[in-house]
């Protein structure tokens, strides 16, 4: 081949551009695929049970995933950095119990004060996770498996010294209204989840720290080499996850009204299922908030469909497990196919 250097450069640039396009395409295909799955579920279930298709039922589905979605936003931040937060269920349980107890003891107090209390408690628990992982150098799976049980133990100690259960009749109506208010005809719970998702999604997409989170997850060594402070960002991701768990806990207490020390047990599995089904790569580095939200909505729709079709709720956990495995297997295949096709393109140039 006799070509000048200029002619060689052009196809190389073109191939890099096409690589970028390919990557963008895959993430869009992944989200599009989820939408198709969602539509299929709606179609199949809708034919068998027409009441599944009512507006009211869709509102119910969104309501049931709203709190999960808030937690999933935080979990996405953590998973993007190639870590995982298993303590989310216990953190939500802890903050829900403490917030509900606060309103039971001080029913006259300002609503905002209780919300801030719950968020602050979540933030502290998240920061503790972050400290152990990024400065104590304990792998996140070990650290947060430990705090999953430690935080739950703290809830039981707190409950043993105060009250075993907070009932709906114990807390002021204004707190419960947090979950039932409607703004412009849309339940506040859904709006809160949407606002959280949009803010964090924009931050991830547009801010420097947001892009750096992706960099840490996709190539930790390279990220360190160009001067990204991985320690601080991982700490920040865990702190943010804790903060959002705190907010979710406040909402949990308002929505379910009756709260005991075991509330939100096992939530971590649902959250991780939603996030990885939504196409956030469990090895970090790729995925979007929009995807995670779609994942949560798909699982919520599935749960609602089981209910409407009168299929035993006992299948739910098995389905969550299968969904996690299925999504991880699918992502692995996509990644390998992508690498192979990029390599093939390079060879062709």
């Amino acid at each position: 081949m006799t070509t000048t250097s200029q002619e060689v450069e052009r196809p190389q640039q073109r191939s890099q551009l096409s690589q970028m396009r390919l990557l963008g395409l895959v993430s869009r295909v992944r989200e599009l695929g989820l939408l198709i799955v969602l539509l299929l579920i709606i179609l199949v279930v809708g034919i068998q049970a027409p009441r599944f298709l009512s507006i009211n039922n869709f509102e119910q589905i969104l309501l049931s995933v709203a709190i999960l979605a808030v937690v999933a936003v935080g979990e996405t931040l953590v998973i993007l950095t190639r870590n995982v937060d298993l303590s989310v269920g216990s953190t939500v349980g802890f903050t829900a119990f403490v917030t509900a107890y606060f309103f039971k003891e001080l029913p006259q107090s300002n609503l905002l004060l209780g919300i801030l209390l719950g968020c602050a408690l979540g933030l502290v628990l998240g920061m503790l996770n972050g400290l152990i992982v990024s400065f104590g150098r304990v792998p996140s799976i070990v650290a947060t498996l430990g705090t999953l049980y430690a935080y739950r133990g703290l809830v039981f100690i707190f409950a043993a010294n105060t009250t075993s259960q907070v009932n709906a009749s114990d807390v002021p109506v204004s707190y419960l209204a947090l979950a039932t208010t409607q703004i412009f005809g849309i339940p506040a719970l859904i709006l809160i989840a949407a606002v959280v998702a949009i803010i964090v999604g924009y931050f991830l997409h547009a801010s420097q720290s947001g892009r750096q989170l992706y960099a840490i997850g996709s190539n930790p060594e390279a990220a360190q080499m160009i001067g990204i402070r991985a320690d601080r960002l991982v700490f920040g991701a865990f702190a943010a996850s804790g903060l959002l768990c705190g907010l979710a806990g406040v909402l949990w207490g308002a929505r379910f009204a009756t709260v005991d020390a075991t509330n939100a047990t096992g939530l971590e599995l649902q959250v991780i299922a939603a996030v990885v089904v939504g196409g956030v790569n469990i090895f970090g580095g790729s995925g979007t908030i929009l995807g995670a939200m779609l994942g949560a909505i798909v699982l919520g729709t599935l749960e609602n469909a089981l209910n409407i079709l009168n299929i035993s709720q006992f299948w739910l956990q098995a389905i969550y497990g299968a969904a996690i495995i299925g999504a991880v297997v699918l992502d692995a295949f996509i990644t390998r196919w992508l690498q192979r096709s990029i390599l093939a393109r390079r060879k062709n140039v």
């Binding site: 995982v84 152990i132 104590g136 150098r137 304990v138 792998p139 799976i141 070990v142 650290a143 498996l145 430990g146 705090t147 999953l148 049980y149 430690a150 739950r152 133990g153 703290l154 039981f156 100690i157 043993a160 020390a261 599995l269 991780i272 299922a273 990885v276 469990i282 090895f283 035993s312 006992f314 299948w315 739910l316 956990q317 098995a318 389905i319 969550y320 497990g321 299968a322 996690i324 495995i325 991880v328 297997v329 692995a332």
Partner: protein, 331 residues
């Protein structure tokens, strides 16, 4: 003398000290602690965890993890109950329950080795899947009318001793595991795989086949633990041993097995098993509930990794300072 000091500095020596401290603590706190019956209670309470910790040790040494063990235990327990209720044959029920464990382990191993996926994520998925299947098999009911011969195996000690039958099973298994890990070619290969997977493969070890068999072994022994658990409580319920994976991972890491693979001894794990068993027993004698006991186990898990990490960091800082002092003197 130097060798003696080196021996004192090992993790196992630290564990022996911890074990002695916890025994002294227990006997000071409660007059019931040193009774023969309490020895039986301590041992039989931890044996399911101890049996599952043996294959977990090997799996973590080769650089993987199996978080689904407690769910396999639960699944095999409900399969046992389900089949006993319908077939009235204990032999059939036990054999199928163990087979379920082998299949569950094979699924984990297949996904991890054949599809080259991370065990951490896969076994979080199967943790939910196997536990979910346990609920599908039995729903919210429980089977509890097991034959006396079976429940006696769970309830009563070996005649003439204070040792539970499960303790004997564990002792035999632990000796086999220790011999294989520390005195055989296969054992050295396991450490090699954990230290450097590539080098291990190039030196002719079939890494993925060994790992596949380790996951199958883990499933089988988790199912065996399920049979023992069912006999001990005379009850097959889908939520049996919920969350036990925490304790299994805790005893292995506290036993000095490096979470990144390649280091640690089985002796350490056996010592850690009894330390955790005694601590739980003490908390139980002090009327502290299981959920709060988990707080202690969770902290122990974090500390067993955090402690050595911090110690290493402090050592690095001290040696740096010494170097700095040394070089400034030279100037």
């Amino acid at each position: 003398m130097k060798q003696f000091i080196a021996l004192l500095k090992t993790w196992e020596a630290l564990l022996v000290v911890l074990l002695l401290i916890s025994i002294v603590l227990g006997s000071v706190l409660s007059p019931y602690f040193l009774s023969a019956f309490n020895f039986y209670a301590i041992t039989s309470n931890i044996m399911e965890i101890a049996i599952m910790a043996l294959p977990m040790t090997l799996i973590i040494i080769v650089g993987e993890i199996d978080l689904s063990v407690a769910s396999v235990l639960g699944l095999s327990s409900v399969v046992l109950g389900f089949l006993w209720e319908r077939s009235n044959s204990m032999t059939l029920a036990i054999v199928v329950a163990l087979l379920v464990g082998i299949v569950a382990g094979y699924i984990n191993g297949f996904l991890v080795t054949k599809l080259a996926l991370p065990s951490l994520v896969i076994t979080i998925g199967t943790l939910a899947l196997f536990r979910g299947l346990a609920y599908v098999v039995l729903g919210s009911q429980a089977v509890s009318d097991f034959p006396t011969a079976f429940t006696n195996f769970g309830f009563s000690p070996i005649p003439g001793t204070e040792l539970p039958w499960s303790g004997l099973i564990f002792a035999v298994l632990a000796i086999i595991f220790a011999v294989v890990l520390h005195f055989s070619r296969l054992g050295r290969q396991l450490y090699a795989m954990g230290n450097n997977k590539e080098a291990a493969r190039f030196s002719g070890i079939n890494v993925s086949r060994v790992k596949l068999w380790l996951f199958i072994l883990s499933g089988l022994l988790a199912a065996l633990a399920g049979v023992i658990f069912t006999a001990r409580f005379s009850s097959a319920r889908p939520d049996n041993a919920l969350g036990f994976e925490l304790e299994v991972v805790t005893v292995v890491l506290l036993g000095g097995i490096n979470i990144f693979g390649g280091r640690g001894s089985l002796l350490g794990v056996v010592l850690a098993i009894f330390i955790v068993a005694i601590l739980q027993n003490i908390l139980g004698l002090e009327n502290i509930s299981g959920d709060i006991q988990n707080l202690a186990i969770g902290l122990l898990l974090i500390l067993s990794v955090l402690g050595p990490n911090l110690a290493r960091r402090i050592q690095v800082v001290i040696s740096r300072r010494r170097l700095a002092v040394g070089s400034s003197r030279q100037v």
